[in-house]
């Protein structure tokens, strides 16, 4: 009896581990797409990238010949899931959604990744840009960025809630500190939701987030958006001035949310995908739904998108160098 138990247990474990080693076999396709296309989100379900991917998947049947299926592969701050796509068969059936996130534009400045963010991935389409918006509590003694700076200058230090250490929001606030002359101490949290909570609760003086994370609180008039760190105003927050307009020269690309395929994907497949994503991005209902949740649709095709990402990567590199930001 005991022997049998042992054997069966080992057998089942063995089958599993073999399955892991072998991986999925490549299936030759006749005409692309001949089966559903996977949208790999390297973050948890429910996050902003995930919501975007699911909205794209929801509208896709109108424009794609096969359904798009969202698969979450969270872990390693996005690196794990992205690596999975990089190592997959370059046939266009496994796409990385979220190309241009922190682990693409910021992390490589601090840490060596197991793949080359630009060399191993082919840009397909930019879907949206998540700006970095500075928000304050609506009952705080300051209602604009100017007022905040005037208030902050009288203090020894003020606190800013940011979603991750040395992430795009952290870098933006450190740059703002330098540009405004206020001693801003950034307090990192584990993700945007935690950071927002402390701004709402009044434990931190100001905070930065992507609009999708604060939209509901802005609508509820609990938070006031005071500035956006983009070159131009964010279409989802058209009334909010940029830092640049306010006289603080802090411009980033925020967090870019695009689609990428592994290196070696046939050009005609990339072309097909880019065309169809463009159609989704032109869908009026899709645009309305995305704007509503604070993720404005900002489509770009493969070439433009690739250049935009490189620029964004270099901007962060410059800021990190300029402000001597380090990970310990």
């Amino acid at each position: 009896m005991r022997k049998l138990t042992c054997r069966l247990t080992v057998l089942i474990l063995g089958i599993f581990l073999m399955g892991i080693a072998a991986g999925p076999a490549a299936i030759a396709a006749d005409k692309f797409p001949s089966k559903p296309i996977e949208l790999v989100v390297p973050f948890s379900a429910g996050g902003s990238t995930d919501v975007m991917a699911r909205l794209v998947a929801k509208f896709a049947p109108k424009y794609f010949d096969q359904p798009l299926v969202v698969v979450n592969k969270p872990g390693g701050g996005g690196i794990t899931g992205t690596e999975g796509v990089v190592r997959s068969t370059p046939d266009g059936y496994s796409l990385f959604v979220g190309y241009g996130s922190g682990h693409d534009l910021v992390t490589p400045h601090f840490q060596k990744l197991p793949y080359d963010t630009f060399g191993d991935l082919v840009p397909v389409s930019r879907i949206s840009v998540h700006s970095i918006v500075a928000v304050v509590r609506s009952d705080a003694p300051y209602k604009t960025l100017k007022e905040f700076v005037a208030w902050g200058k009288k203090k020894d230090q003020v606190t800013a809630a940011v979603s991750t250490k040395a992430g795009s929001v952290d870098i933006t606030f450190q740059a703002l500190a330098k540009a405004s002359g206020v001693k801003i101490v950034t307090i990192p949290f584990k993700g945007g939701a935690d950071a927002v909570r402390t701004i709402l609760g009044g434990q931190t003086d100001i905070g930065g987030n992507h609009p999708s994370e604060v939209m509901s609180h802005i609508k509820a008039k609990r938070l006031i958006p005071v500035g956006v760190a983009l070159e131009e105003r964010d279409p989802s927050l058209p009334d909010v001035p940029t830092f640049k307009e306010l006289g603080y020269d802090v411009v980033t690309v925020g967090s870019v949310k695009g689609v990428a395929a592994p290196k070696g994907t046939p050009p005609e497949v990339v072309k097909y995908l880019a065309e169809r994503f463009k159609k989704v991005c032109e869908d009026k209902e899709f645009i309305a739904a995305m704007t509503e949740i604070g993720q404005p649709v900002m489509y770009q095709g493969p070439q433009e998108f690739g250049k935009y990402l490189k620029d964004g990567f270099n901007t962060y590199g410059k800021l990190i160098k300029e402000f001597n930001i380090k990970m310990e």
Binding site: L8, S44, N72, T164, T204, K219
Partner: protein, 505 residues
């Protein structure tokens, strides 16, 4: 008065919505699915809800889809205890602590009462939680917002003190486990400095060790490995199954544990960040502390099942409060429901109750119905599950391993996690052999990161002054309770030794 009337009016409308045939079916479907994923180890409510998200667009009505998703979430809290009790494998993160005494009860032939009391406690606590959600949601949500880093630090410090209570007989072994838990909790990216700790260059470890994966390895796989080397009887139950249902004595023993668990679960559940897990651990510690026979814990005390299983259900209901009233998702499963609402074009927040009362009240009303459905669903299942223990272990064990592998893989679509579970299985095996208790390690693992981040974030806020923990009212009160607690222990020890204490030891 008018406010109360408004609540009853809203609730009445909500029942009108929830009692429609369509929504009743979705509530039942959610409850069924929830029970199932609760039972399947590793596969949790958030993974299930994310799998079902595409389906929710097809349902069309946001109310119906949210009713179903909510059902999956709190239904999983019912099902989670089943495998904890039967085979020592937590079906759900919030049922990890149920393994400790639940499994011991099963080994003594008392699986039936354990499962029964878990279902009844879940129902009572779930209903208390929904009542709280109905009447005091908005003010409580505001209260939860006043919990910042200093408050979390003080609260978890109090919690860690409890960790020393839930261990076994040996204080030294308990402390070793606490330290091991703290160390394991620090694996991954340090959120404050951005430093990468203890990952050996493995990117999968950057976000830390997954709690469910670790618990399944430690408890479940460890137990199976331990059993493999013994000459096994053909089935798990070493004694005759005497009672299928909890008896009057069981009920008398556990009724206060259920009530206490409900309130602990409700209040901790409002706080974002793993409310159900922490509240189940807190409830276990409290039950052990207030029990007249603390030595019974770890050997099959029914309070050790009733308390935590009630707490996690109350916490599940309570975690809807910040979502529905402030638009703040407090845990992974609630974040999925948040995303589902967004995709349906509904933004949860303070306006939900006035702009979409059908969703607000419809979902709340459905939770009363869903809890009743779950009780009716789960009680007859007790008999079925107990029969499962008659399956020869030579068949049961490999099947369990199979389900564990599938479950762990499905949580993050990651094969790496299966290896992690295997490693913890081996660790669990040695802990069993060397007679170490996993409880304190689990608690320290959960609380350690919250404690560390709270401390460092607070000190950043105060420019290094520790006074921040005392000067803020809530944090200060918590610290006062902590000091009072330690002082009473000291005084108790001192006075207890005085009258004619035997010399020596």
């Amino acid at each position: 008065m008018g406010e109360l009337f408004g609540i009853f009016q809203g609730l009445a409308d909500g029942f009108g919505i929830a009692f429609s045939l369509n929504n009743l079916l979705f509530a039942l479907l959610g409850a069924l699915l929830g029970t199932m994923v609760g039972i399947l180890p590793g596969l949790g409510p958030s993974a299930t809800i994310s799998l079902l998200l595409p389906l929710s667009f097809k349902i069309g009505s946001p109310v119906s889809s949210i009713i179903m998703m909510a059902g999956i979430f709190y239904g999983a809290m019912y099902g989670g205890s089943t495998t904890s009790i039967l085979v020592n494998i937590p079906g759900e993160a919030a049922s990890v602590v149920t393994c400790i005494d639940g499994y011991q009860m099963a080994k003594k032939g008392r699986a039936g009462p354990a499962l029964g009391i878990a279902a009844i406690g879940s129902f009572i606590a779930g209903t208390i939680g929904v009542i709280g959600l109905t009447f005091v949601a908005p003010p409580l949500a505001e209260f939860a917002l006043s919990f910042g880093p200093p408050e979390y630090f003080s609260l978890t410090l109090l919690g860690l003190l409890m960790a020393t209570l839930i261990g076994g007989d040996s204080v030294v072994k308990g402390l070793i486990m606490v330290v091991a838990g703290l160390l394991m909790g620090s694996v991954g990216l340090d959120p404050i400095s951005g430093a990468i700790r203890f990952t050996w260059g493995i990117h999968m470890l950057q976000e830390g060790i997954d709690f469910v994966t670790m618990a399944m390895g430690l408890f479940g796989i460890g137990e199976i490995l331990f059993n493999l080397e013994r000459v096994l009887k053909t089935n798990l139950v070493t004694q005759k199954i005497t009672h299928l249902w909890p008896g009057l004595k069981d009920w008398a023993d556990s009724k206060w544990a259920i009530i206490r668990g409900s309130f602990i679960g409700f209040f901790i559940g409002i706080l974002p960040g793993g409310g159900a897990v922490i509240s189940s651990l807190a409830s276990y510690a409290v039950e052990k502390k207030v029990s007249k026979n603390p030595q019974e814990f770890g050997k099959g005390a029914i309070q050790g099942v009733a308390g935590p299983e009630s707490a996690n259900n109350a916490a599940a209901s309570a975690s809807f409060i910040p979502l529905l009233t402030l638009g703040i998702p407090g845990n992974a499963a609630i974040a999925m429901i948040f995303a589902a609402l967004l995709i349906q074009g509904v933004t949860p927040g303070p306006f939900l109750i006035s702009e979409k009362p059908d969703i607000f009240w419809g979902v709340i009303a459905s939770m009363y119905i869903g809890n009743a459905m779950l009780l009716i669903l789960n009680l007859p299942l007790v008999g079925v599950w107990v029969q499962l223990l008659r399956v020869p272990y030579s068949i049961l064990a490999p099947v369990i391993v199979l389900f564990c592998c599938v479950g762990v893989y499905s949580a993050r679509n990651s094969a790496f996690d299966i290896w992690v579970m295997g490693v913890f299985g081996v660790i669990g095996y040695f802990l069993r052999k060397l007679d170490f208790e996993a409880g304190p390690m689990i608690l320290a693992f959960v609380l350690g990161p919250i404690l560390e981040n709270g401390l460092r974030q607070s000190l950043l806020m105060s420019a290094g002054s520790p006074l921040i923990f005392i000067t803020r009212p809530i944090s200060g009160s918590l610290i006062a309770i902590l000091v009072f607690f330690i002082l009473t222990q000291v005084v108790y020890r001192l006075t207890w030794k005085k009258p004619g204490a035997p010399s020596g030891c």
